[in-house]
């Protein structure tokens, strides 16, 4: 009997351990890039000196709702140099939807970073305020096309910063004939080796629209139904929907994925690793995205926030964005710093006409976003 008692005790202990571990480990999240603790340079700066009682002002704080990896001081060099007394605190969002939902919930950061086409949603909800570009030294360096992406009804609501392409990334050893159309995502020839991004409104709807030649900003219900059927049928070709770039890149490396809807960062990384990949130039045009910063309507640090955004357009920050992260910066004057051949290729910096052949993300309303998301859910739920 003592044996049984001992093993009962053992069972209880191991069960408790298992349940405890499970609770700790099983917080399922499909999102990539676990947010790290805010790590501004002010944390590392020496703060051990006691503050004199007579000292008039305490260092101020600026808060940014940001994507992971953009919090490093290299991504805001100029502001860090000009305002060493300001502590920049970063909170993180895992996706555009996440950042929008957090802002809606009143998370209260001074600055928000989001991507096209979300600007309109923030304007509609009154979550952001106009940018006083006259107070920005670097604003004039922003090309008109990028500035227009931040303008709603003649008012500038954001500062464009990072940009990149969306196109079909493919393995040249598996597809030696090359890819010249977005239609390849639907081609049965590649069944089991295609991977599409898991997104309806920004991913699936615009791509199917350009394939069919429809105006993505003005789709009729019949056209949308056709697009839905296209993606339902595409599931027999598609191996998996990717939600984060590391998963997609792993698919390419293992040989499972031959072609995919992809951003140019993945192209650059795989190219740098020596994988035989190419980034298509579809006849319908590449798609592209623009990252934008806005100042929240509830901020009490407007001038400081504006200075932060002005610094984002500075040369040192731009250089780090280009060289370290392989993403485009909106000011073309700085591109000459890039010497890495792979990076020049990934950003098509050697092709001055590439942007003329690129489709920029069209603005959509909240209603359209809801309808397109629902369509995408129906694609995934279809029997």
């Amino acid at each position: 009997m003592p044996k049984i008692r001992r093993s009962s005790l053992w069972l209880t202990l191991t069960s408790a351990l298992a349940i405890g571990l499970l609770v700790a480990c099983a917080q399922p999240t499909a999102e990539p890039a676990a947010p790290v603790e805010p790590a501004g340079p002010a944390e590392a700066a020496p703060t051990a000196e006691p503050v004199q009682p007579a000292e008039p002002a305490e260092p101020s704080t600026l808060t940014v709702l940001e994507w992971a990896y953009y919090e490093v001081p290299e991504m805001w060099v100029e502001f860090g140099q000009e305002h060493p007394e300001v502590e920049v605190v970063f909170n993180f969002g895992a996706s555009d939807a996440d950042i929008f939902a957090k802002t809606l919930a009143g998370s209260g950061e001074d600055i928000l970073h989001f991507y096209t086409p979300y600007l309109q949603f923030y304007v509609d909800e009154g979550l952001i305020q106009p940018i006083d570009t006259s107070k920005m030294e670097n604003w004039d360096k922003v090309p008109a096309g990028f500035a227009d992406s931040c303008t709603v009804d003649g008012v500038v609501y954001c500062v464009p910063w990072d940009w990149g392409f969306t196109s079909i990334l493919y393995r040249t050893d598996m597809i030696p004939e090359g890819i010249d159309s977005w239609n390849a995502l639907f081609d049965e020839k590649y069944a089991g080796h295609v991977s599409m991004w898991d997104d309806g409104p920004v991913g699936a709807v615009p791509i199917a629209s350009v394939v069919r030649g429809y105006d993505p900003s003005n789709l009729t219900p019949d056209q949308l139904e056709e697009i839905k059927q296209m993606w339902i049928a595409q599931r027999d070709v598609n191996t998996f929907y990717w939600v984060d770039e590391p998963t997609l890149e792993e698919g390419f490396k293992s040989g499972e994925v031959w072609l995919a809807y992809a951003w140019n960062g993945a192209y650059y990384r795989l190219l740098a690793e020596g994988l035989p990949v190419e980034y298509a130039e579809p006849v319908e045009g590449r798609e592209s995205w623009i990252g934008q910063y806005s100042i929240s309507s509830g901020t009490e640090n407007y001038d400081l926030a504006l200075a932060f955004l002005d610094g984002k357009l500075g040369e040192q920050t731009a250089t780090r964005l280009l060289v370290d992260y392989a993403y485009g910066h909106v000011v073309p004057d700085y591109y000459s710093v890039v010497e890495d051949a792979n990076l020049i290729k990934a950003l098509s910096l050697d092709d001055p006409t590439i942007l003329n052949r690129t489709n920029f993300t069209v603005a959509i309303s909240r209603d359209e976003h809801d309808i397109y998301s629902q369509m995408w859910a129906e694609v995934k739920a279809a029997p």
Partner: protein
């Protein structure tokens, strides 16, 4: 969640009270072609996973209680050790084993799965099977523990009595051990069935384009879809469905005991 499901949309902030209740999201779900059938599919997948993991866990628990002897604590520890690894890591490990290339090519030789074609992509429809295999693996230790506890509570003198009265071991198992361990089996089954209906990580990681479960659709509405009211309505329908099924199972089990 019930209140949120009545909101028409998310305009005006997350916590505003300035809206008129509507049932339109329930209508969307009921009229949608795929949502309810997908709930049915999710229930079926959860049932298969729960049944498989219970079937596989029972011999493990039986061995621990009746055969392992002094080494039972050691084997129990071995059973628990996978919990020391992250849940996600275990699923990703299965992703490598089951997906088309990499280790799959090797495994297809070892496991004689050549009929799928080594190095060739699995038929997309088969990815639901990979989801079931992975989930079954994840749940086996969970189910084994309540069954283990149930078996341990059995009074050994009953088995001795059966043997003395001339019952062969298989009959003792069917007439004594099995019925007495049933509460543990049912508890283990439900412990797997209930969370598996809403599972969404495993289909994303090891599944393909055709292996979404209802949890993935709910996640879409709470994530990129930014449509929490519709997601809430769907989650509520799933919750009620699972509750009803669980109540039904509980009822059936009681009924059986009554008949015995």
């Amino acid at each position: 969640m019930a209140i949120y499901s009545l909101r028409p949309d998310m305009r005006g902030g997350l916590f505003t009270l300035d809206w008129t209740p509507t049932l339109k999201h329930y209508r969307t779900i009921l009229e949608g072609e795929g949502y309810l059938p997908l709930l049915g599919t999710s229930v079926r997948v959860a049932f298969v996973v729960a049944a498989l993991s219970t079937l596989l866990a029972y011999p493990v628990a039986y061995f621990l209680v009746f055969r392992a002897g002094k080494r039972a604590p050691l084997f129990l520890t071995l059973l628990i050790i996978p919990f020391w690894t992250s849940y996600l890591l275990r699923i990703i490990a299965w992703r490598i084993i089951l997906r088309t290339t990499g280790l799959y090519a090797l495994n297809s030789k070892v496991l004689l799965l050549d009929s799928f074609g080594a190095g060739e992509p699995l038929a997309i429809g088969l990815y639901r099977v990979t989801v079931i295999i992975t989930l079954t693996y994840v749940w086996i230790p969970f189910v084994a523990l309540p069954i283990y506890a149930g078996l341990q509570r059995i009074d050994r003198s009953l088995l001795e009595a059966a043997a003395i009265l001339g019952s062969p071991p298989w009959r003792s198992f069917v007439r004594v051990t099995m019925p007495l361990s049933l509460p543990g089996v049912i508890a283990g089954f439900l412990m797997v069935f209930i969370p598996t209906v809403g599972e969404y990580v495993t289909p994303v990681l090891v599944g393909g384009s055709r292996s979404s479960l209802i949890g993935n659709i709910i996640q879409t509405f709470f994530g990129s879809g930014i449509n929490w009211p519709l997601g809430s309505a769907m989650a509520l329908i799933m919750l009620l469905g699972v509750l009803a099924l669980t109540a039904l199972v509980a009822r059936l089990v009681d009924l059986r005991r009554f008949l015995e």
